[in-house]
């Protein structure tokens, strides 16, 4: 298990050579506070390969969300940059879609589910018929066929988050960024949604960057796990996960490799907390 920070991933050497979709290069972020500045992120470097699920995990308050927002172009880094498909990110780029944690505030309650999914496509000037096709296909992919005419508040929390995911899928982004997307749902729903992401990755070959505080989730979903830590936050460890694309909540989580990576991550995070105290 290498602890390299900047080596590009070569998880399955049998696949075709890795193509970097999204990269953070020396991303640093400081905020002005009374008396000076507070550094949140410090020289964060990593790369995400096409078709990969990269999970970012770290203790609360470690700046995970700040990092994701830098990658999404919602926040400008104080130093360094984020590169999407070779182009530096300056503001929300066209090739990214974000799924926020708070689905109830991210979906527009005055529009039906289908219209919510179609909204970003309007911005891209996609024609009416194609919008409808794409949204219905995306809703089917997340298991919400037939719910298109309902309103978000008529759905459960898990279903609402599926709508947000469908919205991102219909958009056809280069990469999907997810900010603690399953933190606000119960454990059973979380397990279902995690499996949904794995299925979607296989079916649509999407690239996902997922921020989470749940270590099990990070290891279960990730092809590579990035452990953040330190103050200001850096990438502490980068752990490739060699569990293969076909995973199962019960079987995978009993496999020795899963347990090993999991305890390694836990130790890293704990170690950090211990050091900080």
């Amino acid at each position: 298990m290498s602890e390299s920070i900047t080596q590009p991933a070569m998880i399955e050497p049998t696949r075709r050579p890795a193509e970097v979709v999204l990269a953070a290069q020396g991303v640093s972020k400081q905020y002005p506070v009374p008396g000076g500045t507070r550094a949140v992120l410090d020289e964060v470097d990593f790369e995400v390969v096409r078709g990969q699920i990269a999970t970012i995990v770290g203790p609360s308050g470690a700046g995970k969300t700040t990092l994701l927002r830098c990658m999404a172009g919602l926040v400008t880094p104080s130093a360094g940059c984020v590169v999407l498909d070779g182009t530096p990110v300056t503001g929300p780029p066209e090739g990214l879609a974000v799924v926020f944690q708070d689905y109830s505030r991210s979906l527009m309650p005055w529009m039906s589910v289908r219209h919510n999914v179609e909204l970003p496509l309007r911005g891209r000037r996609v024609g009416k018929r194609e919008r409808r096709e794409r949204s219905l296909a995306a809703l089917a992919d997340v298991g919400l066929s037939g719910n298109g005419e309902l309103y978000p508040w008529q759905l459960s929390g898990g279903m609402q988050q599926r709508v947000a995911i469908a919205r991102a899928l219909a958009y056809r982004p280069e990469a999907l960024l997810m900010d603690e997307p399953f933190a606000s749902v119960d454990a059973q729903t979380r397990a279902d949604l995690e499996d949904l992401m794995l299925r979607l990755r296989i079916r649509r070959n999407i690239t996902i960057v997922l921020v989470t505080h749940d270590i099990d989730e990070a290891v279960y979903l990730g092809d590579v796990v990035l452990v953040l830590g330190g103050s200001p936050t850096r990438v502490e460890t980068r752990l490739p996960v060699g569990l293969g694309p076909d995973r199962d909540q019960i079987r995978t989580k009993a496999e020795p490799e899963f347990l090993e990576i999991r305890s390694h991550v836990l130790a890293k995070i704990r170690g950090h907390r211990g050091g900080a105290e």
């Binding site: 002005p32 009374p34 008396g35 000076g36 308050g61």
Partner: protein, 268 residues
């Protein structure tokens, strides 16, 4: 030391800019009013300087006190009466739901009577005088307080109430210790609305059947064609109303300070 200086500069720099943003428009408008009206030959839109002169003469100092104090006294009496009735009645109607529900159509009807329409009735019942004004103010101002109290009392966190009941805390302690403090922000909203209504009522109640007060003074000035005095009165009224609102907001901050601290979630 350098950090202290930096903090200070940051704070005051921010502060100064913040104040400037809020004040540039009023100052500009005021100056514009002055300039636009200074050469005015119009009968009704007189120069700002004459208005300010009338303001100084009639509305500050002794003459001012004679106009303003009676109004303020009636306002305070009426408002406090409304506050008392509103909170007490509102708590009862809010907590005893069947009663509140049964009485709601009557409340809806009574509160829809436009305050102005009560002026003739008030004159009839009480004649000219402070009693009429105080009663009118009380009647008109009680509704927002009543309704907001009912609302606030009914939306007390049910979990807290269950905890208290399971510990068999007696009713009066429940109400004073938990229900009212919980409902306090909502009640404050009602009080604030009522204050504006009370100010409106005192003004128009003094325009008919009165021999003193702010409203009386403004109307008299208009009847005697003392235009600068009329404008001065309106300006004075605006200032008084504004000061009352600020004063109220100060009281509100004080009362709700603990409430706010209680309700911010730690470490978000």
């Amino acid at each position: 030391m350098a950090r202290v200086a930096a903090t200070f500069a940051w704070l005051t720099g921010r502060r100064l800019a913040g104040i400037a943003v809020e004040l540039w428009l009023p100052i500009l408008l005021f100056a514009g009013w002055w300039v636009a009206s200074s050469g005015s030959a119009s009968l009704y839109f007189v120069g700002l300087d004459s208005i300010l002169g009338a303001l100084r003469d009639d509305w500050l100092g002794e003459a001012g006190a004679a106009n303003v104090l009676p109004s303020l006294r009636n306002l305070a009496e009426g408002f406090l009466l409304a506050a008392f009735i509103g909170v007490v009645l509102g708590t009862v109607l809010g907590l005893v739901r069947p009663l509140g529900n049964a009485v709601s159509p009557i409340v809806e009807f009574l509160r829809s009577v436009p305050g102005v329409a009560l002026l003739p009735i008030g004159l009839l019942i009480f004649g000219i005088g402070s009693e009429m004004k105080v009663s009118l103010i009380a009647y008109g101002s009680v509704w927002p307080i009543l309704l907001n109290t009912i609302d606030g009392v009914r939306s007390v966190d049910a979990i807290k109430l269950d905890v208290l009941r399971s510990y068999r805390v007696p009713a009066h302690l429940r109400i004073l210790g938990v229900v009212l403090p919980s409902a306090a922000p909502r009640i404050m909203v009602g009080l604030r609305t009522s204050l504006s209504i009370a100010i409106t009522i005192i003004v128009f109640s003094e325009m008919i059947g009165s021999t003193d007060g702010i409203g009386y003074a403004i109307l008299q000035a208009q009847r005697n064609f003392e235009i600068p005095q009329m404008w001065a009165g309106m300006l004075a009224l605006g200032v008084i109303g504004y000061l009352l609102n600020i004063g109220f907001r100060g009281v509100e901050q004080l009362v709700l300070r603990r409430h706010r601290a209680m309700n911010t979630t730690p470490g978000s």
